[in-house]
């Protein structure tokens, strides 16, 4: 078990920068998710941690010791690959015990250990089977057991759920998280799925174009997104383009004022982000002049059971409000409604970053 430190770690492929100087501390025993769209450099970063990719610059330290130039085979980092990468010519038990075989553990001991690990991933008695006889979920468990066999210092997972179907994926996310908590092993998981990141990780690193956009707990990332990109990538967000006006934001159709005055010069183009579930609706009426209220027309209603989505058009802005199922107020297309924006739910970003994220 060990804490990892990434010190300005970067990777170039020719003139293309895949990872642009990432500095991060991965705490001992924690689960960190590298989250971002495909091509954001998260897998390259993981592969550099694993020693499968040589960094172009920067250092990697484990408990203060520089391991930047240490080859993958010397690091004792367990890794689960996206394709699982199991060895088809070996049985399940021999797959699990591969690292032990390489380390020269006697055969009988290896067999016992493999059986223990298979029990840990809830596949007891599967040791004698061929890989081809296993289902996708079973293969993943074998891949996890195999990566854990050498009692790795760090546990790395590259899109571990992408080969599984949706239902199994949710189950395995929880199961893997529970297993990790039991073992207390420093873990890094790469994913493009924000639900997966929020389920499995206690810290999320959101990446975009080779750079870290934000590091934080799932709650921080969701409720205080540091950029328009993060706000748009994690969960749903309404994005409204406007201009800064004395700490508030002037939009077509009204003015919105966040809790803390937005630090922009008057007239600067900005983007306001707000989560759909933070919006509340009321029939248009006397209250309309109250602060942080804009009026518009209902454009579309989607009722999916646990929430209702009301799409509202306010001038050029199309918004979505999510209402809890308990709120039974009837809204019909064309109704005039007032949308209330809580001041603490408003996040203001420079307009350029929003354009880049889109």
């Amino acid at each position: 078990m060990a804490g990892l430190r990434l010190d300005d770690l970067g990777k170039d492929y020719g003139t293309v920068t895949a990872v642009d100087g990432v500095t991060l501390d991965l705490p001992d025993g924690g689960v960190t998710a590298l989250l971002g769209p495909s091509g954001c450099g998260k897998t390259t970063l993981l592969r550099m941690i694993a020693g499968l990719e040589a960094p172009s610059r920067g250092r990697l330290l484990i408990d203060g010791q520089d391991i930047t130039d240490m080859p993958a085979e010397a690091r004792r980092f367990g890794m689960v690959f996206q394709s699982f990468a199991l060895f088809p010519h070996l049985t399940v038990a021999d797959n699990v015990a591969y690292a032990l075989m390489i380390a020269g553990m006697p055969k009988a001991q290896r067999r016992t250990r493999a059986e223990e690990l298979l029990s840990l991933v809830q596949l007891p008695g599967y040791g004698g089977r061929r890989i081809a006889q296993l289902s996708g979920g079973q293969r993943q468990r074998v891949a996890i057991a195999r990566a854990l066999a050498q009692e790795p210092l760090v546990f790395l997972l590259d899109e571990p759920m992408s080969a599984l179907d949706a239902k199994l994926r949710e189950e395995m996310q929880v199961e893997l998280r529970l297993l990790q908590q039991r073992l207390g092993i420093t873990t890094v998981v790469v994913t493009h799925d924000q639900r997966e990141a929020m389920t499995m990780a206690d810290r999320i690193v959101v990446m975009q174009s080779g750079r870290v956009e934000q590091v934080g707990t799932p709650q921080e990332i969701y409720h205080q997104p540091a950029s328009a990109f993060v706000a748009g990538f994690i969960g749903k967000a309404n994005m409204l383009d406007g201009r800064a006006a004395a700490g508030a934001i002037a939009l077509e159709g009204g003015t919105l004022a966040p809790v803390t005055a937005a630090p922009f010069i008057d007239g600067a183009p900005v983007t306001v982000a707000c989560r759909p579930e933070r919006l509340s609706l009321a029939p248009a009426g006397a209250d309309d002049r109250a602060p942080n209220r804009l009026t518009g027309q209902v454009a579309f209603v989607r009722d999916v059971g646990q929430v209702r989505e009301i799409h509202v058009q306010i001038g050029p802005h199309a918004l979505t409000a999510e209402l809890p199922a308990a709120d039974r107020t009837a809204y019909a297309i064309g109704d005039a409604v007032a949308v209330a924006f809580p001041a603490d739910a408003l996040h203001v970003y420079p307009a350029e970053t929003a354009a880049k994220a889109a």
Binding site: E73, M79, L86, H89, Y98, A103, R146
Partner: protein, 339 residues
């Protein structure tokens, strides 16, 4: 629809290579081609005419009798086979001349094919780990070298190894020969057939023969190993590395087991190919160490002119090839059953 169509040729290619080792190549092929029976019959007849008839003729001739002056009579005699194994003077005296030629045929074929595959494996493996573009460049070079005929290749080696103008001359002129003499390694070289009392001498020699034979089939070995090796998942190799295996250990414990059948298949195919190699043997092997391929040619077209005996030698050579293929198929099946 498109996915199966894309993957099908690749699967067939695996089966093709693996088929030599007795895996079920037929099962990987689509069963229905949809040809009318008449067309099938026509194709069958053509195949029969082109493949079975000449072969049957060779067998028939091998049972016939030689007539001096390049003719033969129908017959039903095992005389030619007897001559092959124990000699014409049997039972008074036994000659193993042709059995020896058979031995050398198998000897060069086994060593040449194993050597070629062993040398081609690391090369093909390294190619498959390069970028797409680099892989294409290497394959083009290899395919070009395959297009050189054996005659061309052997001629090049012949000059390179010739006593007056090749490497021995270079050795002599640079003083290397003298150095080897001073170091006292000359007797060893002579034991290996690589020197006469005065000079190094590379041909005829068994080493030169093996070198030439291996050189001729090596590109084929690379091309046979390239498809299965390029299908070895890089993630498998990386997974092994994260579990503590060095590059060489990965090759031993992951890559070789993954391409075991294609390795055996390539070796067998090249084994059969080398059994029939003519030019390289005729140039580099000493007469006492020449192969059946040469004596068959001599009997059918060359100096000895004895078609029935040539045919008998060909049948024996073919049977040996068949025996090796059957043996490896059997070993392959046993290994599969055990796994």
């Amino acid at each position: 629809m498109s996915a199966p169509a894309d993957t099908a040729p690749a699967d067939t290619a695996i089966a093709d290579t693996a088929g030599f080792a007795g895996s079920a190549a037929a099962t990987a092929r689509p069963a229905h081609i949809g040809l009318p029976p008449a067309a099938l019959a026509a194709i069958g007849a053509m195949l029969g005419l082109l493949a079975v008839v000449p072969f049957a003729l060779v067998v028939v001739i091998s049972l016939g009798q030689n007539v001096d002056g390049a003719a033969w009579h129908w017959g039903l005699t095992l005389e030619n086979y007897m001559r092959f194994f124990v000699g014409i003077g049997w039972p008074e005296e036994i000659s193993t001349l042709y059995a020896q030629k058979l031995y050398y045929s198998v000897h060069y074929a086994v060593l040449g094919s194993v050597l070629a595959v062993a040398l081609a494996f690391p090369f093909a493996y390294l190619i498959t780990r390069r970028s797409r573009r680099a892989q294409t460049a290497w394959l083009v070079v290899l395919l070009a070298s395959v297009s050189l005929s054996e005659v061309f290749v052997v001629m090049g080696w012949d000059i390179l190894l010739s006593n007056r103008s090749g490497l021995p001359m270079v050795f002599r002129e640079t003083g290397l020969t003298q150095l080897l003499k001073d170091l006292g390694v000359f007797p060893t070289l002579r034991d290996w057939g690589l020197a006469n009392p005065r000079d190094v001498r590379f041909k005829p020699s068994e080493i030169a023969t093996l070198l030439a034979v291996t050189y001729v089939v090596w590109p084929y070995a690379v091309i046979l190993l390239y498809p299965p090796l390029s299908r070895v998942d890089n993630a498998m190799i990386e997974a092994a590395r994260t579990m503590g295996a060095t590059h060489l250990t990965v090759i031993r414990t992951v890559v070789i087991p993954a391409v075991r059948l294609p390795l055996v298949g390539a070796t067998l195919l090249l084994f059969v190919y080398v059994l029939g190699v003519y030019v390289a043997i005729s140039v580099f092997a000493a007469p006492a160490r020449q192969t059946l391929a040469l004596s068959i040619y001599d009997a059918v077209r060359g100096s000895t002119l004895n078609a029935p005996f040539g045919a008998a030698q060909a049948v024996v050579l073919l049977s040996v090839a068949g025996l090796f293929l059957a043996l490896s198929a059997w070993i392959g099946k046993r290994a599969e059953a055990k796994a």
